[in-house]
Symmetry: C2
Subunit: 509 residues, 2 copies
Amino acid sequence: MNTRSLVAGRLGGGEKTFSVVDRRDGSALEGAFVVATREDVDAACRGALEAVSSLASASVRAKFLERIATELEADAELIVARYQAETALPEGRARGELGRTCGQLRMFARVAREGHWVDARIDHALPDRQPLPKPDLRSMRVAIGPVAVFGASNFPLAFSVAGGDTASALAAGCPVVTKVHPAHPGVSALVGAAIVRAAEAVGVHPGVFSMLFDQGIEVGEWLVDHPAIAGVGFTGSYRGGTALMRRAAARPVPIPVFAEMGSVNPSFLLPELLQSDPAGLAERLAGALTMGVGQFCTNPGVLVTVGEASVWAEEISQRLAGFVPTPMLTEGIAQAYSEGVERRNQMDGVNLVVDGPAHLFEVTAAQFVAEPDLHEEIFGPSAVWVRAQDLAEAEAVARAMGGQLTMSFHGTPTDLEAAKPVVQVAATKAGRVLFNQVPTGVEVCDSIVHGGPFPATSDGRSTSVGSGAIERWSRPVCWQNAPEALLPPELQDANPLALHRLVDGKRVV
Amino acid sequence: MNTRSLVAGRLGGGEKTFSVVDRRDGSALEGAFVVATREDVDAACRGALEAVSSLASASVRAKFLERIATELEADAELIVARYQAETALPEGRARGELGRTCGQLRMFARVAREGHWVDARIDHALPDRQPLPKPDLRSMRVAIGPVAVFGASNFPLAFSVAGGDTASALAAGCPVVTKVHPAHPGVSALVGAAIVRAAEAVGVHPGVFSMLFDQGIEVGEWLVDHPAIAGVGFTGSYRGGTALMRRAAARPVPIPVFAEMGSVNPSFLLPELLQSDPAGLAERLAGALTMGVGQFCTNPGVLVTVGEASVWAEEISQRLAGFVPTPMLTEGIAQAYSEGVERRNQMDGVNLVVDGPAHLFEVTAAQFVAEPDLHEEIFGPSAVWVRAQDLAEAEAVARAMGGQLTMSFHGTPTDLEAAKPVVQVAATKAGRVLFNQVPTGVEVCDSIVHGGPFPATSDGRSTSVGSGAIERWSRPVCWQNAPEALLPPELQDANPLALHRLVDGKRVV
C-alpha cells in the first residue's frame, strides 16, 4: 500500500506524516501517510488541466470508468479488510458499499457512452426568414474543466476517492483531484492505486487523476484556490461545506461548489397509522435511526408525531434503549455526538426520553418551531421527537425548517390524503419526498435526487447521486454557423453517435 | 403613466423622486418617479412568496405570459415613443425590441404549456429485486421561489421589466420582483402596468409581479437580502454583477445569481479571407461594432487579425471614422466611454488608429497577452485590433483571455480547418462560437447560449436567452413511493400532460 499522494502519475513529496488506528480495538494500523505539499497541489492541478483533452472522447471515458471498477474488484479483499479496520463498520457494509461504488462507476460509463446527457440541440438556419435570416445554431453540454473532490468520512468508497463525485466528473470529461478524508487513508490509497492502474491500462493522460493526503485543511484550501480548478464536490459537515463555498466565491474567478452537508430529514408520523401500527412504525424508524450508528446524511433526526403517540413512543424507546452500538467512524465524530447530545439535554423544556446508547428527545411542536437549535443535526443515532397535536401544527413544523435532503410521510391512504398541505410544503423544502419508506438507502438511478435547498446542500439545483449528477460538471456551448467538419460529432447532422436530440423544436429519439 | 412602484397589486409609498431627460435633446420628460421604500421591498417580497402557489398551474402561467404580450402590444405606440425619448435609439430598434420581447413571452408560454422542460423521470419499483427491493422514484424540476430581476440599461424591453429573465422566471412558476433601471423609468412604468393588467385579467395573485423604482443601489440591496427571494437575474456591468454575487453569497441562506456581465467577444480574422475579402470583412465588423452605438454585450471589442492585414485595417478605419453616432443611452455611459478610451490611449505601446467617433486601438499579440487591461470591455463603439503574426500567436491570445459570451472566426474553409486548435480553445472560453457571422443579434431559440464562463457571466452553466433560460429558476424534486393521487400530473403514470419523459431508462416521447 502506497502512503504518498498520487500527483498526476508521480508520487508526492512531503515529510509530515499521519497514521490511523483500528477503530474496532484502537490498535495501530500500518501506514504513515505523507501530507501533500503545496508543490504537490500545484502539480496535480496543472496536470489535471493538461489532461482535459485526454478525456475528450466519451468512449475513452467509459472504458476508463469501467476499468476502475474492475481494478477495485480485483483488490476487493484488501479494500474490505482495511475498510473494516478504518471504520469499524461490518463486512457486509464494506462489500455493499464497494458494490455500489463499482455500480456507480459502470452507470456513469453507460451515461457517458450513450451520450444523451449532453442535451444536444439543433436549430437549422432559415436564410429566407423575414425580417432577418435565422442562423444555424447548435448546442451541447461540455466539461467545465478540472474538479476538486473532497472525500466523505461516512462513505469511504461510495462518496470518496472513486465515489459518485469522481465518477460523475470523469464521465463528464473533467479530470479529478481528490483530497482524501483523513479517517480512511488506507482505503483511499488502495482505491487511488486502482484508479492509476486503470488510467495506465486505458492510456489516458496521468493528470486525469490525482489524490492528496492531508490531516488538516490546508491542502484543501490550496486546492480550491488553484486557478486550474473549475468546480468542487464535497460531502461532509455544514461547517466544512460553507467554508468551501466562501472560499470558492472569494476566488478571482469564482467556481461552483456542490457541497452535500446533510440534514435532519423530518419524518411525519400520521394519526391513523400511529394508532393502527405503532410497533411497525417504531421498528422501521428505530432501524433507520441506528443503522450504521446513525452516521448517514439521510438519518431521520426529527420524528413528528401527529396526535396521540404514547404507544409508539414506548415502542421506539424500547428499541432505541436496546440498540447495541459499534464504535463511531472517528474519535472526533464520537466526541461531537456526545457533546451535541449533552448540549441538547441542557436546553430548557427538552425531555430526554431515551438516554443512550441512542438518544431520543421530546419537545412540543411550539417549542420546536420557536427553537432553531433543535433543527440542527447531531450526526449519529439521535432524534428529536416533535409532538404535534394536529396537521396544522405539523405544517407549522415543516414551514419552520430549512432545506432538507428528504422529508418523509408515514400514514394510511386516508392519512396521506389529509396531509396534502404538509406534503406540499415538504416539496418546497426537500430534494426528495417519501411515503411509507425511510430515507436511508439512496437508490442510484435516473430519478433520484440527493440534494435539496440550502443548508442541505450548497446548491439545491443539483443532485450528488444518480445519473443527473453528471450535469453539475458541465456547461452549454453553442456553435453558430459552424462548418460540419468543426462540429463535435454530437452536433453533426448525420448524428453519428445516435443521440436523442432536440432538432428544430422536436425531440428526436 | 404611473410613477410609483407597483407592490404586489398596490402602489408603493415613498417621497424621494427622480426624473429623466429626453436623450435626443436634453429636454425634460414627464414623470417624477418615486423611489421605493424598505417597506415596499418587504411587501413586494412577501407578496411574491404568497403568490407562489398561484403560479402552480402551467396553463395559467402560459395564459399570463401571453396576456402580458397582448397588453404590451396594446400600448405599443406609447411604449415606442417613450423608449425613443429615454434611449435616443431609433424607432425601428424600439419596435424590433418590443417584438422580440413579446416573442420571448410567447415562447416561454409555449415552453410552460408543453411542459417538457421539467425533465420528468420515472423509475418504477422492483419489489423483488435482490439483495434489496427497488423503490418507485420519480423526479421533475419545480420552481425555486420568488426571483429578483434587475433591468438592463441597454435593453429597456427585452432584458428589463418584462424581459427574458422575467418571462423565464414566470414560466418556471417563480413570482418576480423587478428593480427598474433608472435610465428608462417611463418605459418600465408602461410595461409594469401592462403586466399588472395581465395578472388581473388572468386572475393570478397580485404578488406574482412587483416593480420597484430606485436611482441608487439601496433598493436592489434590500431586495437581494430579503429572505423570500430565492434567485437573482441581472444584466449589466461587471462591477454591478459581482457586487450582487458577493451579496447573495453572504446571505444566511445563499441564493444563486445569474448575472450577465458582458464581454469583449474576440473575433479572429483569418489569413486567406483577410486577403480575398478585406472590404467585406471590414464592412461586417464595422457594422457590428457601431450598431446601437456599440452598446451591446456581444459587441466585437477585440479584433485579432492573423497575418498581413493592412488593407483590411485601412478599410475598417475609413468606415469607423465615417460612423455617425447618436447619443449614448445615458450620460454616465457616455462619460465612462470617454474615460475608458482616454485611459487606453495613455497606455504604453497602444496605437490609436481611429480616434472618434468610434475608436480602434492597435497592439501586437505579445502586448495583448501581457496586458490584461486591454482585455477589458469599454462599453461602446471601441475595439482593440490585435495583430497576430500567425495562428500560434492567435491561439496564445485566445488562451490569455477570460470567459466570453462569444468568440468568432472569420475565414475561408481552408482558414477554418487550419484554425481548429484556436477554435478548440474558444470552445473552452466562450458560451457561443461563431463562424463567418458577427456576434451581435442573439437568436431566441432552443439552441442559443447567451452565457459563458466568468467573468462573462456569474454562472457559465446557464443561458439568459432562449428556452434553456427557464432551467435557472428550477430545482429537481424526487417523489419516492408516492400515492398516485399525491403525485403532480407530470409524474403520474397516465401522463395526462403528454410529456416527453425518461421512464425506466428509456426516453418516451
